[in-house]
C-alpha cells in the first residue's frame, strides 16, 4: 500500500477546512444590519410599568435593561439571569435578596446607573404614587423594604419567603428608569424613552413604525450585533404574512397560524426558518358556580370528561394555534405535570369511550340523565377561540348536552365575564413569565378574575403554601395537589388545549430563541443577521 503524499494530505485538509468553514462562520455572530420586525399591536404609552400589551414590549424592550432577565437562550423561559445585576445572594430564611449591580452601565443620556435607579424603579412598581398605575404591583406584595447600602448594592427584604420572587424581578415589564427623572416627574416615561438597553431611541411614527439604533456605550461589550432595528406596526394578519413573504420584514415575534406557516414555508423554502414552542397562553372554560346545574361538581366533571383532548391535539393543531394537552402549567417547563401523571385527571385519559360513559353516569346521578341545554359564551376572536368553541360544543353533544354558542364581541367580553352574565364561557390568560404564581392567582376565592365564582379554601391554602415553598420539590408536590383539586376533584374550571407558538422567520435572523411567552426575549442584544 502506498503511503499518502504530503501534497495529498494538505489537499484533503484544505477540502475538509473548506467544508467545515461555512458552518463555523455561520455560527459566529456578525455585526451590522437592521432587523425589521412586524408588531401586530401598538403601544398606548411608553411606560412599561403601566401597560399590558406586547405592542409595547416588542418595540420598547430593546431600549431598556431590567434587574434580571429570563435567559434569552432558555427555551422554557424560566431561568433568570442577571441583566443589570451582576450577581445576587439569597439569605437562608429566603427573605433577603442582595443584588450587586454592574459597574460602568450608562443611561442613553451618558449618566451612570447606580443602585439609586433600581430602588426608584422598584419603589414606583411596588408602592406607586397615587397618580401612577402599576399593573403588576400585586406580584410584589411580599416586599417589605428596598435598601441601597452602597451605590452598587440593592437589598430587597421580604415579609415572607416567596418562590416566584426572583423570576418576578426578571419581568420584561420592569424597565429600569432613571431616579433623577422620576424624582422630578413620575409620568415622564409615559411619553419619553431613556434607558440603559442595547438600543437607543430614534423615532416613533404612530401607527406606522418605531426605530432604534445601536447603543455604542452598551455595558455588554461587543453587543448588540445589529446596527439598529425597525418595528413596523401591521394589524392585518394577511398583511403581516405578506410582509415576511415579500421580505419586507424578517420576523414577527408574537406568532403565526399553522396555515400561515405552511404558506410561508412553501413560498420561501430554505429562506424561512420555523421555531415552535408551547405557548404560555391558555383558554379555559369558566362554569358559573352560582347557576344550576353548574353548582354541582358532578355536572362540571361530566363536561370535562366529555372532551377528547388527545384527539383534538392532533386535529385542531392543524388549523388553530393550539397543540399540547396541558394542565395548569406550560408543558415542557419545570413546574408542569408529566403527561403520564396528567392522564389520571378527569378528561385527560386516553380512553374516551370510558370517560364519556362515566360522564353520562355522573349526569344521571346529578339528576339530568337526558342531558340539558345551556349557553356557551365565546369571545369574538378567530384564533383560537372559534375552532375551540366549535370543538367544545361538538364534544359536549356527544354526551347528550344541547349547547348553544353565543359569540360576544371581543371588547364587550371582559365586562360580561366580570358581571357573571354567563352559564359557561371561554376564559383566557397569557403569562409574561412562566411562573405558577402568576397563572394561578386567578383561582383564589377572592380574585377579581375568578369568573366562575367558586369558593374553595383548600385552593386558597394550597396556593399560598406553594407560593411560599422554598424547596422546589415541595412546591411541585403542592402544585400537583392544587391542580388535582382544581381540575379533577372539584372541576372549578377546565383547560382546553395549550396554545402553540409558531414563529416562521427569515433564515437570516440568528441568535434568537423562541420561549413560551411572546413577552420574553425581545431585548435583541443577542440577535444578528446572517449575510
Amino acid at each position: 500500500m502506498r503511503r499518502p503524499s504530503l501534497l495529498s494530505i494538505a489537499l484533503a485538509l484544505t477540502v475538509l477546512t473548506a467544508i467545515a468553514w461555512p458552518a463555523a462562520a455561520q455560527d459566529k455572530p456578525r455585526s451590522g444590519g437592521e432587523l425589521i420586525f412586524v408588531v401586530p399591536s401598538q403601544p398606548p404609552s411608553y411606560d412599561g410599568h403601566q401597560e399590558e400589551t406586547f405592542g409595547l414590549i416588542h418595540p420598547l424592550a430593546p431600549h431598556y435593561s431590567t434587574l434580571l432577565k429570563v435567559d434569552p437562550f432558555d427555551k422554557t423561559g424560566t431561568k433568570p439571569v442577571g441583566d443589570l445585576a451582576e450577581s445576587w445572594t439569597i439569605s437562608k430564611d429566603g427573605v433577603t435578596y442582595t443584588f450587586k449591580i454592574r459597574k460602568g452601565v450608562k443611561f442613553h443620556d451618558g449618566s451612570d446607573l447606580t443602585s439609586k435607579d433600581i430602588k426608584a424603579t422598584y419603589d414606583r412598581i411596588v408602592n406607586p404614587p397615587p397618580d401612577v398605575k402599576s399593573l403588576r404591583k400585586a406580584a410584589y406584595a411580599a416586599v417589605q423594604s428596598i435598601d441601597t447600602p452602597d451605590s452598587h448594592t440593592v437589598v430587597f427584604k421580604l415579609k415572607w419567603p416567596e418562590s416566584s420572587f426572583l423570576l418576578n424581578l426578571a419581568s420584561p415589564w420592569n424597565f429600569v428608569y432613571k431616579a433623577d427623572i422620576l424624582a422630578k416627574d413620575q409620568k415622564w416615561y409615559e411619553k419619553n424613552v431613556m434607558g440603559t438597553g442595547p438600543f437607543t431611541f430614534v423615532e416613533h411614527v404612530k401607527g406606522s413604525h418605531w426605530v432604534g439604533k445601536k447603543n455604542p456605550h452598551y455595558w455588554d461589550k461587543g453587543k448588540p450585533y445589529l446596527d439598529g432595528y425597525r418595528a413596523i406596526f401591521i394589524s392585518s394578519s394577511s398583511a403581516q404574512v405578506a410582509a415576511v413573504r415579500g421580505e419586507r420584514a424578517h420576523i414577527q415575534f408574537r406568532g403565526f397560524t399553522p396555515a400561515d406557516r405552511e404558506s410561508l414555508v412553501s413560498a420561501l423554502g430554505p429562506k424561512i426558518t420555523v421555531q415552535e414552542s408551547a405557548w404560555d397562553c391558555a383558554l379555559m372554560v369558566a362554569m358559573h358556580h352560582e347557576k344550576k346545574p353548574f353548582d354541582d361538581k358532578r355536572v362540571r366533571r361530566a363536561l370535562s370528561l366529555a372532551l377528547d383532548r388527545h384527539a383534538a391535539s392532533k386535529t385542531i393543531s392543524k388549523i388553530a394555534i393550539v397543540r399540547d394537552v396541558a394542565g395548569i402549567q406550560v408543558p415542557g417547563t419545570p413546574w408542569a405535570t408529566p403527561p403520564d401523571e396528567l392522564e389520571k385527571l378527569a378528561g385527560y385519559g386516553r380512553d374516551i369511550n370510558k370517560s364519556r360513559a362515566e360522564a353520562r353516569r355522573l349526569l344521571k346521578e346529578a339528576g339530568v340523565p337526558d342531558g340539558f341545554a345551556f349557553t356557551f359564551k365565546n369571545r369574538g376572536i378567530p384564533q383560537p377561540y372559534e375552532p375551540l368553541g366549535i370543538w367544545l360544543i361538538d364534544q359536549w353533544r356527544q354526551i347528550g348536552l344541547n349547547v348553544k354558542q353565543e359569540v360576544v364581541e371581543a371588547s364587550a367580553y371582559h365586562p360580561m365575564l366580570k358581571r357573571g352574565d354567563f352559564e359557561t364561557a371561554m376564559d383566557f390568560q397569557c403569562g409574561f413569565i412562566v411562573e405558577p404564581d402568576l397563572d394561578l392567582g386567578r383561582f383564589l376565592s377572592n380574585s377579581d378574575a375568578n369568573y366562575g365564582r367558586h369558593k374553595d379554601t383548600v385552593i386558597d391554602d394550597l396556593y399560598v403554601r406553594q407560593a411560599r415553598a422554598t424547596d422546589p420539590e415541595e412546591r411541585k408536590k403542592l402544585l400537583r395537589q392544587l391542580e388535582k383539586r382544581l381540575l379533577d376533584d372539584e372541576v372549578h374550571v377546565m383547560y382546553t388545549l395549550q396554545w402553540h407558538r409558531i414563529i416562521p422567520h427569515s433564515s437570516k435572523v440568528k441568535g434568537w430563541t423562541i420561549t413560551p411567552s411572546h413577552y420574553l426575549n425581545n431585548q435583541l442584544d443577542t440577535v444578528w443577521l446572517a449575510e
Binding site: 399593573l135 411614527v205 413573504r245 415579500g246 421580505e247 371588547s411 383566557f428 397569557c430
Partner: protein
Amino acid sequence: MHKYLLKRFLLMLPTLFGVALVTFLLIRVIPGDVVELRYSGDRGAVSQELLDRERARIGLDQPVWKQFVTWMGGVLRFDFGTSMWTGAPIWEEIKLRFALSFQLAIMATAVAVLLAIPLGVLAALKQDTWVDYSVRVFSIAGLSMPSFWLGIVLILLLLVVFKWLPPMVYTPFWTSPTQNLAQLIWPALAVGYRYSAIATRMTRSAMLEVLREDYIRTARAKGLMQKLILSRHALKNAMLPVLTVVALEFAFLIGGLVVTEQVFNLNGIGLLFVQAVAQRDYTLLQALIMLVAGAFIVVNFMMDIAYAWLDPRIRYR
C-alpha cells in the same frame, strides 16, 4: 350669488351639530369602554379600583350630558381633546394619517377622472358599437369588484409573479417621490378603478342626454366642428352630475378606505377609524367622524359653488 353662498354656508352649522350629537350618543351605546379594554388584557386580573380610578381620570364617570357639554365646548374652540387610548392630542393623532389619506384620495380621483371622462365620452359618441360595449363591460367589471379584493389580487400578483411587495411604511412624497409612489400607486389603482366605473357610466349617460338636446342639434346644423360642439357645449353641461359623483366619492375616500388600508397596511384615516372603534377611543372616534362629516360638508359646499358657476340658472334663482 353672495346670498346663495351665505345660505349654503349657514346650513353647514346645524348639520355639523346634528352629526356631533348623534355620533356622541351612538358610540356610547356600544358595549365596553376604553378603560376595560386597555387594562383587562390577556391576564384580565386588574382590580376594579384601578378601573374606576382610570374612568374618573378621563371623565367617563360623569353623566353623558355633562361629557357632551364639555366636549362641545372644546369643539367650539377647535380643541378636540386628547386620545383616551394614547393620551396624545387628537390633532397629533390625525394629522399623521391625514396626509396619507388625502394624497391617496387625490391619486385615486386622478386615476378615476383620467379613465372615466375619456371612456364615458367615447362610449356615448360610439353608442351601441363594440367600443361602447367594451367600455360598458370594463365599467361594470369595476363596479362588481370590491377595491379591497382587487388590492389583494394586486398584492398577490406582485408577490407571486414579481417577488416584490410595495413598501410597508409611508414615506412623504417630498422625502422620496419614488418610495412614496411605489407604496401608493397600487391602492390608488385599486380604488381608482372602482371609482372610475361609477364615473364612466355617469359620464356616458349624461353625455347621451346632452347630445340629444336641441342646442347641440342647432350647433351641428350651423356647421360647427364636432370637437367644438363636444368641448364647448356638450361636455360642460354633462359634467354637472359627474362632478357630483366625483366630489362625493372624494370625500368618502378621506375616511372610507377601511379595508383597503388594512390590505395595503396604509397608516391612514380608515385604519385609525378601525382602531378607534376597537379601542373605544370615544374622543378620537368623535373627532374622526367630525372630520369626515366636515369633509363631506365642505365638498358639498364647493360643489354648490361649482354648480352655480357651471349653471347660471342656479346662480340667478
